[in-house]
């Protein structure tokens, strides 16, 4: 610090990026405290996120299992996944179907419910609570409850659909309907999406609607012309979050179907988990490659959604 008099050193040091140098003593003190306060997160970032992130990338090029040290295998894991692993493609396809289905349910049903609750009704807090209640139930409890609801012989869902004349379905016990069963179950969690939409709807100024009414716009036109455009940022947010979450669908498949019947609910995370912890010997190298493929897919999907958002998301004006 006091080396200003030692010219050669100072000039050689100039190449080293040292933002501290430019700061006044007061600002330097502030900066030191800033770093001190965020220190826990910085340490955690290195140990629990960045380190494992890099390690996972390296592992994906090995055949490491926890029982024996791994050997470098180059791109073998990736080649195997793409060219010689039917379960990989099947799990990817199943996950894709689940992502599209559950995100569509989230958005359409969540938005519809939010519109209903936004219609100047009484006891708003009560209704909101009732719709949200299922979302706070621990997922293990939810899966156990829904194994009953989806029971083919005496489950609630078959009874309910029977009221409308729908014949009994086999749900989780048939490869044709197992995915559908999990999608129906996912609609039970729509309360969270609904609350976010409702908050967005309540933020739309009443004047807009009054003005539209004066111009003679009917309810449908007001929805198309005012509500939907103004809600696109919220819809966009819910789509992104929905994609990221749905891609990682795991617990319900592990507990309810174990990936079956006939691999019809073998989701990507379930397959990855089986590779890492389920199979003997564990295939942690391969699982790491699967994890990186998942990471790239989620990243790409999010980027595509963000990039195309300027075509349909409306931010004021």
């Amino acid at each position: 610090m006091s080396s200003a008099t030692v010219q050669p050193l100072a000039s050689s040091r100039r190449w080293i990026f040292n933002p501290f140098k430019e700061l006044s003593p007061g600002r330097r003190r502030e900066a030191i405290y800033g770093y001190l306060f965020i220190l826990p997160w910085l340490i955690g970032l290195v140990i629990f996120t960045a380190g494992p992130f890099v390690a996972s990338f390296i592992l994906s090029f090995t055949n490491y299992s926890i029982l024996q040290p791994g050997r470098w295998v180059g791109l073998e894991n990736y080649v195997r996944a793409f060219t010689n692993d039917d379960l990989f493609w099947l799990s990817l396809k199943n996950t894709g179907v689940y992502v599209v289905g559950s995100v569509a349910i989230r958005i359409v049903l969540g938005f519809g419910l939010a519109l209903l609750l936004n219609a100047k009704i009484r006891f708003l807090a009560l209704w909101r609570t009732l719709f949200y209640l299922p979302s706070i139930v621990p997922i293990v409890a939810t899966t156990i409850l829904w194994m009953y609801v989806l029971n083919p012989r005496f489950g609630l869902l078959n009874w309910f659909l029977g009221l409308f004349g729908v014949p009994r379905l086999r749900w989780l016990t048939s490869p044709d309907t197992a995915m559908l069963g999990l999608l129906v179950m996912s609609s039970w969690w729509v309360g969270t999406t609904m609350i976010i939409f409702l908050a967005g709807l309540q933020g739309i100024p009443e004047d807009y609607y009054d003005a539209a009414k004066i111009d003679g716009a009917n309810g449908w036109q007001r929805l198309r012309g005012i509500t939907l455009p103004l809600m696109t940022p919220t819809i966009f947010f819910n789509v992104i979050i929905g994609i990221i979450n749905a891609f990682q669908v795991f617990t319900q498949a592990l507990i309810m179907t174990g990936g079956g019947p006939l691999n019809s609910t073998r989701f990507y995370m379930l397959y990855l988990y089986d590779n890492a912890f389920g199979y003997l010997p564990p295939q942690m190298g391969y699982a790491s490659a699967l994890a990186w493929i998942l990471f790239v897919i989620i990243f790409a999907m999010s980027m595509i959604t963000v990039r195309t958002s300027n075509r349909w998301v409306f931010y004021g004006n």
Binding site: F20, A31, I32, Y33, G34, L36, F37, I38, P40, G44, L45, F48, T49, G51, P52, F53, A55, L59, I66, L116, I121, W127, R128, T129, L130, F131, L133, P134, I136, P138, V140, A141, L145, W146, Y148, V149, R153, F154, W159, F160, G162, W188, W189, T192, I195, I196, D210, K213, I214, F237, N238, I241, I244, Q248, F250, T251, I255, A276, L294, I298
Partner: protein, 295 residues
């Protein structure tokens, strides 16, 4: 919309047909809301009802709605197969300590990001937001290997210790709130000679109480409900949390078809969450509104 200032072009409530249509529309909306909310709530109520039923009543089709006779012993039988008290204690310990870690670390870090200027701050904050997008699957395997190396598998440590190093999402929420607190309140304390950590503890935390409660609830919910973490790290039955205990209980031979006892066990797990929800309902809703990341 009040009657005192009638708007010439708004609904003409004096028109009989329009009024009829208006009330008809309202009635339809209420009908839809009541019907749909029933669909959402009935399975939950029925879970409670089933937990008190004799087994043969559950297999009825169409379903029997109310237990007859009421069997409290479903609960005691469920507890007999499953050391509930122990898993409850384990869950409480893990949840409690993780919450302490979350709240301490996240308020510290959020305060650092919100109130101090330092080189690289905005870049680091972008990194923080970026980590939110990282799927757990990517770090899951190396973390397991690491914990295994230092002998942390089959202990509570992997479920607790990381939370003392901040959670990106909670840090983000708290920082947003901290930024809304006027600078003058903190400057006054600085003039009185209070140190930075004193200001964080004595002034910032009390002022940020609403946001801290929201984060505390999100944290409680995520740790109480956590399944994948305990599934990976808690092999020993003595260490099982409620989530993992319930999962194993359901998988016991024959136990999975004893729906009444299974539902009793499930009710016991859900009940604490429902109680917390009943007390802090408003904050739950706020938490979701702020986030949308849960579920």
């Amino acid at each position: 919309m009040s009657a005192a200032a009638p708007k010439p072009y708004a609904f003409r409530y004096d028109d009989r047909w329009l009024r009829l249509r208006f009330y008809f529309g309202k009635a339809l909306i209420y009908l839809a809301i009541i019907g749909l909310s029933l669909i959402f709530v009935v399975p939950l109520l029925f879970m409670f009802s089933m937990s008190l039923m004799p087994l043969e009543q559950i297999g009825k089709y169409p379903p029997d709605w109310f237990p007859n006779p009421i069997l409290i012993e479903n609960y005691t039988k469920a507890l007999y197969f499953w050391n509930f008290a122990q898993s409850f204690r384990n869950t409480a310990v893990v949840t409690g300590l993780s919450m302490v870690g979350d709240l301490l670390s996240c308020t510290l870090v959020a305060y650092g990001f919100a109130r101090f200027r330092f080189p690289g701050r905005d870049l680091l904050f972008m990194v923080l937001l970026g980590t939110l997008m990282l799927p757990f699957a990517v770090t899951m395997v190396p973390l397991y290997i690491g914990y295994n190396m230092i002998g942390w598998v089959n202990t509570f440590n992997p479920l607790i210790v990381p939370h003392f190093f901040g959670n990106a999402f909670y840090i983000f929420l708290l920082r947003q709130f901290f930024m809304t607190i006027p600078e003058e309140l903190l400057d006054a304390a600085k003039i009185d000679g209070a140190g930075e950590f004193m200001i964080w503890w004595r002034i910032m935390l009390p002022l940020a109480k609403p946001a801290i409660i929201v984060v505390a609830i999100l944290s409680f919910q995520s740790h109480w409900n956590d399944f994948l973490g305990p599934l990976l790290y808690l092999k020993d039955e003595r260490l099982h949390t409620l989530a993992i205990g319930l999962y194993k209980f359901q998988g016991l031979p024959g136990q999975g078809s004893l729906y009444n006892e299974l539902m009793a066990a499930t009710v016991l797990m859900v009940l604490p969450v429902l109680v917390v929800f009943a007390v802090f309902q408003r904050q739950f809703v706020q938490g979701v509104t702020l986030s949308g990341l849960k579920g």
